[in-house]
Every structure is written in C-alpha cells, then in structure tokens.
C-alpha cells in the first residue's frame, strides 16, 4: 500500500514537472522574463543584509561568509517551498477563501496527495533554488567548510524542518479561511510575508522576549537563523540541532489538526463565495 502511494506520488510529480516544462517552453521570451526576473529579484531581496555585512565586515557574531550562508539557507528554504507548493498550495487561504478547495476535493485521490503534488514546479522554482545553492557554495568555500556525510545529513534534516515550519505556519493561519473565507483570503500571504521579511536577519541582538516570540508563537527564527547557528557551530549546545526538527513536528501537527477541523466545518457549510450563476461574491 505504502509503495503504491509513493509510486503514485512520484508519478504525479513527474506529470506536474512535465506541465511546468511545457508552460515554460511554450514561449521562450516568457520563460526568460520570469526566470531572469525571479533570479535577480530574489538576490535583490537579500542584498540589503549582504551589503550591511559587507559594510561592517559581518553582523555581530556572524562573519560575512556566515551571513551569506544564512541568506543562502533562507533562500533555499523559500525556494523549496515555492517549488513544491506553487499554484497557491502554499498560499492555502486563497484556495480556501475562493472556494477552490472543491476543485481538489472532487479528484479521485486523497487530499494530502493532491496538495503535495499539484503545486510542484521544479523548473520555475529553480530560479530561486540555483542562486540559493550559489550563495551556500560561495559561503562554504569562504568558511573552509569540509563537510562529511554526517554534516550533510544534518543539513538536509534542518532544511526539511525549516521548510516544514514555514509551510505549516502558512497552513495554520490559512486554515482560518475555512471559517472566514472572505476576510482571511489573504492571511497566508500576510503570514508568509512575516517569514520572508525577517528571515534574512541574524536575530541575536533582538532581546530575550523577541527571540522567545520568534521561536515559539511566530516560529520565524527556525526558518534560517536558529538552524544556521547550529550548522555553523555558533550555538553553544549540540542539542540545539534537535530543536528545529522538534518544532517542525509540533507545527506540522498543529497545522494538520487545525486544517482537519476547518475541513470538517467546510463539509457542513461549503463555499459561500460563488453565486448561483458562477460569479464570485
């Protein structure tokens, strides 16, 4: 049963990767327009922090290459979640608020499988992933990192945990759109904007109260800062490496439960966003 599910998952990813390929190759001008703009704009989004690090030869306890590592890590997390959860799967409140969950529910497959596959855009997402890998590679070379298999395993685990936390955070807030479809239609955007805007900064100087908040209620610290501290050996305890995966587990559970509760509500009420002749309210 599990093997069949995995086979179906891989098969669907292949289908959506092909569709992404077709979308981009349909018009070379369109492809280059999106690809180059995405690459440049994602680099521009983190350039403010980089320029500060250049000006001050680092930021606090972080050296310049360490800051670049942080930026690359944060960008990789953003790239991954955008590669796997495009078409508003990541911005789930838009689908819920617009009554578009019905389009997914009528498909002859479990909801989780649809959500895990139909936003897969590996080629479009590479416009963010490639510069992220470039930043990480440059920082690694400058830092003289010579990672073994164990470090790579930890890196993969932290990246996966960070991406899970960012996605779960969006779903946690986005589930509000089950109860308030119109008012909460854009709440996932607001939640993810918080994540994207604060990810490029080392949070060390933010004070215990703010750091506490950014590692609990709003888990933005886990998206790049905290795991990078661990991976670069800046955190005092080796146990710090376990905190991000544990937080990922907690937020994934919380998001799953909230989403399931919202879906139960939706099963009773349905979507109120469409009029009988098809227009949206």
């Amino acid at each position: 049963m599990a093997a069949e599910r995995i086979k179906k998952l891989l098969c669907l990813w292949r289908v959506y990767a092909y569709l992404d390929f077709m979308l981009l190759t349909r018009d070379l001008r369109l492809f280059l327009n999106y690809f180059i703009t995405d690459t440049l704009l994602n680099l521009a989004a983190v350039s403010g922090t980089f320029l500060l690090a250049e000006r001050f030869a680092g930021l606090g306890m972080w050296s310049k290459p360490q800051v670049v590592f942080l930026l690359g890590y944060g960008m990789l997390v953003g790239g991954l979640i955008n590669t796997f959860f495009s078409f508003n799967v990541l911005y789930i409140s838009r689908r819920l608020g617009r009554g578009q969950l019905d389009h997914t529910l009528i498909q002859p497959q479990p909801l989780w499988l649809s959500l895990l596959t139909e936003g897969f855009m590996p080629l479009s997402g590479s416009a963010i992933l490639l510069p992220a890998v470039g930043l990480l590679w440059w920082a690694g070379a400058e830092l003289g990192l010579d990672p073994g298999a164990g470090w790579w395993a930890l890196f993969a685990m932290q990246i996966l945990a960070s991406a899970t936390i960012a996605t779960a955070f969006s779903f946690l807030w986005g589930s509000l759109a089950f109860w308030a479809p119109r008012a909460a239609e854009e709440i996932s955007s607001s939640a993810l904007r918080i994540v994207y805007q604060l990810t490029p900064f080392p949070l060390d100087g933010s004070g215990p109260l703010l750091i506490g908040g950014l590692l609990s209620v709003l888990p933005i610290g886990f998206v790049a800062w905290y795991p990078c501290r661990f991976l670069l050996g800046l955190s005092p305890s080796p146990w710090d490496g376990a905190l991000t995966p544990l937080a990922a587990l907690f937020f994934a559970l919380a998001a799953g439960l909230t989403f399931a509760k919202g879906k139960k509500h939706y099963e009773r009420t349905g979507s109120s966003r469409y009029l009988s002749f098809g227009h949206r309210r």
Binding site: T37, F56, R182, S190, R193, I194, F201, L203, G213
Partner: protein, 262 residues
C-alpha cells in the same frame, strides 16, 4: 470644495472598509512591530561602542528606524492600483466622475487614517519603552520635516502611477512589475536600511535617485544627518520630473489597457 468633499468621502469609505472587510490588517501591524524590534536590536549589535566611520550615531540610527516605521505608509505610498489592474476592477474607476488616479490616492489616504491612529501613534508613544528618542534633531528639522514628507509622498505617488503604467506596458505582468518595485524601493529608498550604511560609498550615488527622495531624504532631515537645503531641492526636482514621466507613461499605455473581470 465640492471636489475635495468627494475625495474625502472616498477616503472615509476606504478607512471603514479596511476594518469591515479585513480585520486581519492587525497581522500586518504585528509584522511591522517585529521588524522594528529586530532592526533596533541589529543596530545596537552593530554600532554599540564600535568606531564605524559612519556619520550616523546609534541614537540617530534608532530614531531613523523608529520614525521610518511610524510613517511607513506615507513612505511606501501603495495604492490599490496594481491590485485593481490585476482584478480588472480598474474599469469601474474609469466610469466615476472623478480622476482615476485621484480615487486611488484618496483610498490610500483613508487607509492611512486608520494606521496613524492604531499603529503609528501608539508606536511613537511607546518609543521610550524601546529605548529610542522619537523627537526630531532640532526645531528646524521639525519645521522642515512635514515639507520633506509632503514632497516624498508626491514622488511616491508618481512612482506608483509609473509602475501601474509599467504593468500595462509589460502585458499585465503584474507579478514582475510589483516585485521589481518592491525590490528597488527596499534597497534604494533608505526606508529599511539607511543609505549611509551601504558599503563602497553606494549611499551617495543612490541618494540622487528618485527612490531616495521617497524615504531617505525626510528621515535624514528628521534625525539631522543631512543638510535640508540640497535634500529638499532634489526632492522638489524629482517631484516634478517623476510626475511628468509618470503621466506621460500612463497616457502612452492607456490605450493598451485590457480589463478582464471586474
């Protein structure tokens, strides 16, 4: 007077709509509060007791960041124009007996009213709790700041209209135009990171661009890190030049405007 009355009521409707339609604007206020907290912490780490060779003192930098957040809506000058182009609802703006962009500006003003009362004022009052002196550098700075802010809003609105026209010119590629504007403004306006902190003397070059007139200039006047005369002159120049450019570009693209939905 009657003309102003129409725009004033549009602004009031917009202010009320912000609360009625989407009470989740509170989440955006939370983001702003977090961002200011993170930046204040970062500046303290960077500048506390270290000779950095920059013109801004730590106190000025903290005031700069706090005031930038207090007047952030005015420095950004975001209207609903791009959103309306995306949704197609811009069509109904053309049908009303008012200036098309004037309606967007009035709506933006309405949204400011709410933010000023429920975010900017409380943040200004809470400044001492954050260890920041929110007062202007001098009486002269206090007098010239409103004038500079007015010019900043004029340049910001012109840029908003320009990017709206750019969306039409780029075959309604709203996503790229919107992100291009945000990236340029975040980096070149000095609204988030003061231009004096940029390396390689970039701040001096960037300071001559219109983006700097939308945020850096009024904030530098407020904290006393820039000579007001040249800054105001440059802002006045960009206020005229950017409006001429934006109006020309909007008119040039007006016939290309395609409206779907609405």
């Amino acid at each position: 007077m009657r003309l102003l009355h129409k725009y004033w009521h549009t602004a009031l409707l917009s202010a009320a709509g912000l609360v009625g339609d989407n009470p989740l604007f509170l989440l955006d206020y939370l983001l702003r509060l977090l961002r200011v907290g993170v930046l204040l912490g970062l500046w303290q780490v960077l500048l506390q007791g270290k000779p950095t060779g920059i013109e801004l003192s730590l106190g000025q930098l903290l005031t700069y960041t706090l005031v930038a957040e207090i007047i952030r809506d005015q420095l950004r000058c975001h209207t609903q124009l791009l959103q309306s182009l995306w949704e197609g609802s811009v069509g109904s703006y053309f049908l009303r007996p008012m200036s098309v962009f004037g309606q967007f500006a009035a709506r933006m003003g309405g949204e400011w009213l709410f933010g000023l009362v429920f975010f900017s004022l409380p943040l200004a009052l809470a400044a001492p709790l954050l260890g920041v002196d929110p007062l202007p550098a001098s009486a002269r700075a206090a007098l010239l700041f409103p004038l500079s802010l007015g010019l900043a809003v004029a340049v910001g609105l012109a840029l908003e209209l320009f990017f709206g026209a750019l969306v039409v010119w780029m075959d309604h590629n709203l996503y790229n135009a919107y992100r291009l504007r945000d990236a340029l403004v975040a980096l070149l306006s000095g609204g988030l990171i003061p231009l004096e902190l940029l390396p390689w003397d970039l701040g001096h070059i960037v300071g001559y661009l219109p983006f700097a007139s939308t945020a850096s200039a009024p904030l530098r006047i407020y904290v006393g890190s820039g000579e007001p005369g040249p800054l105001l002159l440059l802002q006045a120049f960009w206020a005229v030049a950017s409006w001429m450019m934006a109006l020309w570009f909007w008119r040039f693209n007006r016939e290309r405007l395609v409206i779907h939905g609405g």
